[in-house]
Amino acid sequence: MLEVEHLAVSYGPTRILEDVSFHVPRGRVVALLGGNGSGKTTVLNALTGMVRPRGGAIRFGGQDCAGWRPDRILRLGLAQVPQGREVFASMSVAENLELGAYTRRDREGVRRDTERALALFPRLREKARRRAGTLSGGEQQMLAVARALMSGPRLLLMDEPSVGLAPNVVGDMVAAIRALREEGLTILLVEQNVGVAAAVADSAHVLQAGRIVHSGPASGLLDDEEVLRSYLG
């Protein structure tokens, strides 16, 4: 569904991504692992049009969308859950969800997707009228995911959804990602937490200094000494 070929990104003279290639097949959960500064978030930002790639191709459903504007890419079906949640603190949970459907005009579809998102995260339904800034960290993360789902994406990009969450809340997040996969959603998961990636992903790619240094099935990640060492080191 998503094919990234020889993606390169620079900020000014600094090369962030040298040569990144990977595929995300339809219906799968693919993890992108890497330490701080390895370029994980930059890959996502290039995919969603927040930064312009210097070179390479990004094909989504056969359509080359490298360098498109963010709203056009979103309409194509690629939505991002930003790092650090970034919910709109002064707005209610319901208003946050409405903004998730900012680019859409089909009221009926939006209502259906609101239902779907709230069914996935029942805690959000209870707190629909609360200001998002008053939610706990875990609830904010769920809201960020639900909000991204409101654009009706075919591929969901998640940027470190487990960061800063209590262990039991991380468990809820893992369950939610599995539920989304059951529904047939394709997911690209960026993580530092190898445990989360191994628990939900089908395959994984390890990013280091702007290159993919390892690719393989996610289930073997925790056993693979070499990967863990290079990834941690």
Binding site: T48, M50, P70, D71, L74, R75, A79, Q80, P82, Q83, G84, E86, V87, F88, A89, S90, M91, E95, E98, L99, G100, Y102, T103, G133, A144, R147, A148, S151
Partner: protein, 318 residues
């Protein structure tokens, strides 16, 4: 109808019958209040709701005021045309400076708009052939059907203040308003949801400039006299004080803040030097003791849900 709207309309009704009992001074204060409300609501759209700390509001209201007055003086345009033209001129200038200015953020946006404000004042003072320079000029009194000039401008200001405050309250719940608040609460998330950051900020800038222009035009009609110093940095600080004291991200707060600042301004009329000290203290007190402004206190009332208050920096997530 919602509580804040009902209270606002009650206040407007009180102002509408004020002329029956008031002396000319109170009438002037009431008129100034209506104009301050328009200024504060307009500035809050840009600073409070959209989160863009600009310092051009006083200058843009000056452009609305000079535009209105000079169209009348030089071209003989009647005020019912000159006022909207002045407001649209302010809007156009606001939009024109917004595109370069909004590529900057934070402190740099503040500095760029401050420079624009000083430049505008310089034009008012030095383009003497058109603006009559630092000495200012007289604006002929407007004429209204049935009532006198003073009363006519009073009711016009009051009507526009009510209309523009209601429009702003409904705007912030619209698609554009929500986008503005989203840009303020999280630019990255807003962009990820397909919100065009630059266009949303520019719309907020243009709208805010329109409010400033209308207020400036009304100021010209009310005072009957125009001079550059009515639009200097002190007036910018006054407007900032209105929205900070009232609450960033609240229409009700803008209205209350405008009232509070006017009350202080008029109370200290006899002590010009004390005014600036008083406003400095008021601003510091608001920032320290009520970072969400008076609207923050109103939010504690049951069933009062009007505002999208900006979170004070200290409880923002690290």
């Amino acid at each position: 109808m919602r509580q804040p709207v009902l209270l606002g309309l009650a206040g407007a009704l009180a102002l509408a019958v004020l002329p029956l009992v008031a002396n000319p001074y109170l009438l002037f204060v009431g008129n100034q209040l209506a104009i301050f409300v328009i200024l504060a609501v307009g500035l809050n759209l840009l600073v409070g709701y959209c989160g863009q700390l600009a310092f051009s509001h006083a200058a843009l209201s000056g452009i609305g005021a000079y535009g209105t007055a000079l169209l009348k003086v030089h071209l003989g345009l009647p005020f019912f045309l000159a006022l909207p033209c002045g407001a649209l001129l302010a809007t156009a200038v606001g939009l024109a400076i917004s595109y370069p200015a909004l590529r900057l953020s934070g402190l740099y946006l503040s500095l760029a708009t401050l420079a624009f404000a000083q430049f505008t004042l310089w034009v008012f003072m030095n383009w003497e052939a058109v603006t009559f320079g630092a000495g200012g000029f007289r604006v002929p009194a407007p004429s209204y059907p049935l009532i006198g000039a003073g009363l006519g401008t009073y009711y016009l200001s009051l009507a526009l203040a009510v209309l523009l405050a209601l429009a702003a309250a409904s705007l912030v719940r619209s698609r554009l308003g929500r986008a503005m608040i989203a840009v303020r609460d999280g630019e990255v998330a807003a962009e990820a949801l397909g919100i065009n950051l630059l266009r949303t900020k520019a719309m907020a800038f243009g709208l805010s400039a329109f409010y400033a222009g209308v207020a400036g035009g009304l100021q010209a009609l009310m005072l009957g006299y125009m001079a550059p110093e009515s639009f200097d940095l002190f007036h910018m600080a006054l407007m900032k004080a209105m929205i900070v004291v009232g609450g960033l991200g609240s229409i009700a707060g803008s209205v209350i803040g405008a009232g509070a600042v006017l009350f202080l301004l008029e109370g200290l009329r006899a002590f010009k030097g004390a005014q600036e000290i008083a406003f400095g203290s008021l601003l510091i007190a608001a920032v320290v003791f009520a970072p969400r402004g008076l609207a923050g206190a109103l939010n504690r009332l049951p069933r009062w849900r009007e505002s999208y208050l900006r979170r004070p920096a200290r409880d923002a997530a690290p």
